[in-house]
Subunit: 472 residues, 2 copies
């Protein structure tokens, strides 16, 4: 139980509604989006950088561990307290100001507690958006802490690429505020310190404000489902599409037969677009888009896509088996249904892996061959972002399988997959979910000792107080 | 003079041609591209990461300061030794291997000593290029150390955005090699350490290899010279062009009348494209490009540009005064002639500034008004990268002016310009040239003390030996 004097001090800083201590009030902040469940000593809800600074400084001085929590949509237990009841949550949910659009700079300065959907709603009248696209609706601070990627990475890159500036509160006794928020697009006057607060799970500091790059909102979109001639043709198909369509290409998302079958089984309203309902081994949702309205004399974007696909279908050495051009919304509905469909289909053991782009299909083929030799009764339901090397590699067991609740079995399975992915294929054990308690062990296992020493040294020198769910 | 025992040890590591000690051999490494001139104790020319590691380790153990030198095309005295004769040059000019193109990953792993032109020559058969465009022909290591921007930043970003991995040798007694070269496009498994070796002038370590993102080579290009209705309309003109042309837009370069006049005066073969030869107050070279060959049914790119410009010329509230569509090569010849023309036109005091995009024209207007009140007889010959906020703010004095050789006068002028740019307009004192001895003082003046402490702490903990021309 937290010292009542600390609670009183925090209440004075944070005001009414700014400090929660009642169990019923704490509950929403104690559970994560998917897996994690913990107990919070209290929840602090600052409304400004100054309040974050005072909260953090006070907690550092009293040795209270703060877990920064943004939209709490992450899936690696990075934003919830552990079960000890001694950790407190620093919620960003009231830190939604400022909101300052700089139309000429094509940037916005926003509070880290703003939701992505709300940001984009406010930007739409200016035909701008923050181009990170994902299923969940996180708040900005968490997107920065995890360096979110998403489905349009191929065109727009990740949060890192689109972050022009940050305001950060360090975990030191003063709650020092680092101002890295000039918002210049070009500036080489020393180390780009903001980079170390992106993708580091809030362990080096609390992001309170950000300056984000904005992009013109797409005004025309076309999409197609591609069936590769065979799964091993996928990499060359990607290259062919990139060569033909350049920066028109805004998504190139892979979907395995098993993942699509799970989606169709669990979302009956979902239309199966394949001829005769025969789900192919692998399909790709590809999207092209551009930011201007149709102009007289200009070929419609859907016609551009159709022409390119016709060329590909006509190649002597076929890469493409079939192509279905259709309504983008319908295709994305299928794509977005995969995650829930797979989860519904059994006991899920999920991985968020990435590879060099040429290695994804090789890794999947390898796993399909090796899995039955190692682990029986496991269905591989992969899907993901072929265009940037990411794959949501999902393994599903029948819920009736006695191994489904066996933590030791799951650990053995996870260890093996990580070992093949990271050591065998040079991949990443966390492509876009960053580090949380769930993959803290992998950080220790797969990060070279000298890099772990660098991180510990930076933490100790910069932001030494107890902050965040992970230790880097 | 360097201890002969050190020289002998280095010669054993580096082999024939790998260690230069004769004055005639040292000379090419002692002078910079524009300003700086120093004296080298010796020049080490390693051919591999292992040789760099042994060289750096040995020099750290003996306290010899190494100045990493890449293409030596920088203009801030960041890659040459000082006049003491005690500093040695670590040249990357033989470190041109490996060269490994990963076509599917659209990346290349290359030695830091490879020249940009040679890299792109080797990539051209695969219709790929490293999309950093600039007048000089640097080697890759220097581009990383300075985080080069260039003229297509608006489309492709800087070196940072296009760097997927690095191999770095730290300045410690072991010459520790950091392997940050997995080359994944998506990876969030801890701090992205490579970021601290980009744009830090080689002071935190020597980059020996890099994994670079490649882009499809443009196959169609069109360009126009735009004359804004007035200079203050430039920001809205940029936004209008971005809204109309999206990612087609690959350059939006500003050119002042004085800079253009200097180019025409000093390059007589340069054609003056303006009606009646009347150079406007300000002009913009804009370029659109796309990576595919013309397709049947698709409007030519030049027609797209012409349509957009016709729309802009027809607006009720005019942003655009005139627009000349022409051959891109000819327009770029003018753009590239500015730098030399300005330099030839008198005693040059040059600045590489950047601002939020909306502040560039305000800053220039402010300077035009204030300069005559502060300093007489100075011609402002600005040009630069309006699309990303960068401006090469050049001040020219008549060479006959007695102040032209007066270091105190120049310092006063520089101090005032920096103060207005950085303190007054929130700009950067080094947009794309990074830090060298020439602007070391500005780093100390304009970097907050806590950030300087961070840098010194990181340097001491990571790479403590004497390395590089600057101190961060």
């Amino acid at each position: 139980m937290t010292d009542p004097a600390i609670i009183a001090e925090l209440r004075a800083v944070l005001g009414d509604g700014g400090l929660l201590t009642e169990p019923a009030d704490l509950a929403p902040y104690e559970s994560g989006a998917r897996y994690d469940r913990g107990r919070a000593a209290f929840v602090a809800r600052p409304r400004s950088t100054a309040e974050v600074s005072r909260t953090v400084g006070l907690c550092v001085r009293h040795g209270v561990t703060l877990i920064p929590q943004s939209g709490n949509t992450g899936v690696v237990a990075g934003s919830t307290p552990d079960m000890s009841g001694t950790q407190a949550v620093l919620s960003l949910d009231r830190l939604t100001a400022p909101f300052a659009l700089d139309r000429i700079n094509r940037s916005v300065t926003a509070g880290a507690g703003l939701r992505l959907s709300e940001l984009n709603r406010r930007l739409a009248p200016d035909h701008l958006f923050f181009p990170i696209d994902l299923g969940a609706d996180p708040r900005l601070g968490g997107m920065i802490a995890t360096n979110t990627g998403g489905s349009r990475f191929l065109r727009y890159g990740d949060v890192r690429r689109n972050t022009l500036g940050l305001t950060v509160v360090l975990a030191d006794p003063d709650g020092t505020v680092l101002n890295l928020a000039a918002g210049l697009r070009k500036d080489n006057t020393g180390p780009d310190w903001k980079q170390l607060f992106i993708g580091t799970s809030g362990s080096f500091g609390v992001v309170t404000e950000c300056v984000l790059n904005l992009e013109p909102l797409p005004q025309q979109t076309a999409a197609a489902l591609l069936v590769p001639a065979s799964p091993d043709k996928v990499p060359d198909l990607l290259i062919a599409m990139e060569q033909a369509l350049g920066f028109y290409l805004s998504a190139f998302e892979g979907m395995s037969r098993n993942a699509m079958a799970a989606a169709f089984a669990h979302a009956p309203s979902l239309r199966n677009p394949f001829a005769g309902g025969a789900i192919p081994d692998f399909a790709i949702l590809t999207e092209v888009s551009r930011s201007w309205l149709p102009r007289p004399g200009e070929q419609p974007l859907s016609a551009v896509l159709e022409d390119v696909l016709a060329d590909l279908l006509g190649r002597a050495d076929p890469l493409l088996g079939d192509a279905l051009v259709g309504r983008p919304e319908e295709m994305w509905t299928l794509r977005h249904a995969l995650s829930e469909g797979v989860r519904q289909s059994g006991k899920l053991v999920a991985f968020d892996l990435s590879f060099r782009r040429g290695d994804i299909m090789r890794f999947i083929a390898h796993m399909k061959a090796e899995m039955p030799k190692r682990f029986s009764g496991i269905t591989i339901c992969d899907f993901g972002h072929v265009g940037d090397g990411g794959v949501h590699f999902n393994l599903v067991l029948d819920r009736a399988d006695p191994r489904a609740g066996d933590a030791g079995f799951e650990q053995g399975l996870r260890d093996w997959v990580f070992e093949v992915a990271v050591a065998g294929f040079g991949g990443s054990f966390s492509a876009e979910h960053a580090i949380g308690r769930r993959n803290q062990g992998m950080y220790a296992r797969y990060t070279e000792a000298q890099l772990r020493r660098l991180a510990a040294g930076f933490k100790a020198a910069t932001s030494p107080g107890p902050l965040g769910a992970v230790e880097l």
